[in-house]
Symmetry: C2
């Protein structure tokens, strides 16, 4: 339970009415879980694949409009919201995860947090696309040759480009410096920090050799310090040690030894 929840969930609603519709593996649904775990807001999960999809794709059940894919979050109002960045941008200000600015500036800060979330999720998407560069509906083994080529570009060009960007964001944050330069915006944890944390965890799982080499270069120290810092935050620390956090496997982030290398 974090002590920095700025604005509790609407008091007219019971906070245990949030239900995350997602199949277990720590893919895109994990970003939503981390927001709840950090903020200490109760939630439950619906993870039966067929029931899940039947509900969220049926407008009569989910409330208009139907949804393209999980994760979807059933809100206390009974309506469903899907698309990870839309869910996160919706709950972030309610959970105190959209920055600490007040008044006119609050909305701009929330949008900047959203911007950072979207860039971190772009890295998540590109990490996924390495193992599925041709067709998401086909097996990895059927597109392995293209995956090997894409992995080379990812390791050499894309992953360092994203890490360089986040290093620049962290090291140029005027308010974050007093906290060791591990806050993407302001001087408190936002949903952007939580998302980048999980992306880094996923990248480390999928590309351990390349990630170790990039870490060793010393060029992205603030980025990896953020990963450590978030792992120790109240709410997240307890979640990690609870055993409820599921292991990476065959989801968005996958480890194929042949796609990884130090360079």
């Amino acid at each position: 339970m974090s002590d920095i929840v700025k604005e509790p969930v609407n008091k007219k609603q019971k906070t245990d009415e949030y239900v995350l519709y997602y199949v277990g593996t720590p893919g895109r649904g994990e970003y939503v879980r981390l927001a709840f775990e950090y903020a200490g807001v109760p939630y439950t999960e619906m993870s039966d694949p067929s029931k899940l999809l039947a509900t969220i794709t049926d407008p009569a059940k989910s409330g208009h409009p139907p949804h393209f894919a999980p994760p979807a979050l059933k809100l206390p109002s009974g309506r469903f919201l899907s698309q990870t960045p839309a869910i996160l941008s919706h709950i972030a200000p309610k959970f105190g995860l959209a920055g600490k600015k007040e008044g006119d500036e609050a909305e701009e800060e929330r949008s900047l947090v959203n911007q950072l979330v979207l860039t971190a999720l772009d890295l998540c998407n590109e990490t996924h696309d390495v193992h599925h560069p041709i067709a998401v509906e086909d097996y990895y083994e059927d597109q392995k040759e293209a995956a090997l080529a894409r992995a080379k570009s990812y390791r050499k060009s894309r992953l360092p480009k994203f890490l360089k960007h986040f290093q620049a964001v962290l090291s140029s944050n005027p308010e974050g410096k007093k906290n060791g330069g591990t806050y993407l915006i302001g001087s408190s944890t936002t949903i952007a920090d939580l998302v980048l944390f999980h992306v880094l965890e996923g990248v480390l799982f999928a590309f351990p050799k390349r990630t170790a080499a990039l870490k060793k270069s010393g060029e992205y120290d603030n980025v990896f310090a953020l990963q450590n810092r978030v792992a120790g935050e109240n709410g997240i620390k307890e979640y990690i040690s609870s055993g409820r956090r599921q292991k990476f496997g065959n989801g968005v982030f996958r480890h194929y030894a042949e796609l990884d290398a130090e360079e």
Copy 2:
């Protein structure tokens, strides 16, 4: 100039202070342009590539944080915001493009609009990735074989899946029915309608044969009716006929005859 602007830009600020930082071609920056054109809000553009990038990637010039890539929008406050969905979600309520609900429901509707925008932009991204499945930093010609394989999956599986989704959204919208089923949410134009319009224009440019065949099937009539409806809206109609709207070319949406087919 549209007549349905709900909430004009903050009156304390001059509306001509919005500056779009983007290189001309109608890629991701076009979604931002359409919001301004529809709402009749003045904006200018900065499209000099080197000056543009030097500004938005330098935190001292752009205001914290630095940005990963254009488009970026200079806000009336002087701060910059990047990531297309973050920009659109920020300006949509100010421009009357985030739905018409009031009070508590307004924020949920804005998030649902954001959800729909994100799904339409996923289709945009997948359409782009067809011609660059391996490495964005390399030429199409150097990844043509993989592009041909990805195009096959896109035409057969991905494009119809997205169209089917938007057809379901449009045809199940209880409020939109009285307007011919061409509103993704509610019964007024939102940024989601404008984004889907431009994605469809781009898909039609890139895959004219496949798009014609899907249109002819009659399974996605509401989707193509939305495309027609938005093209005739006040603000958009004038923009199209003004000659200011740039032609598709070598940007996000590209036409390579060998990637297109009826099936």
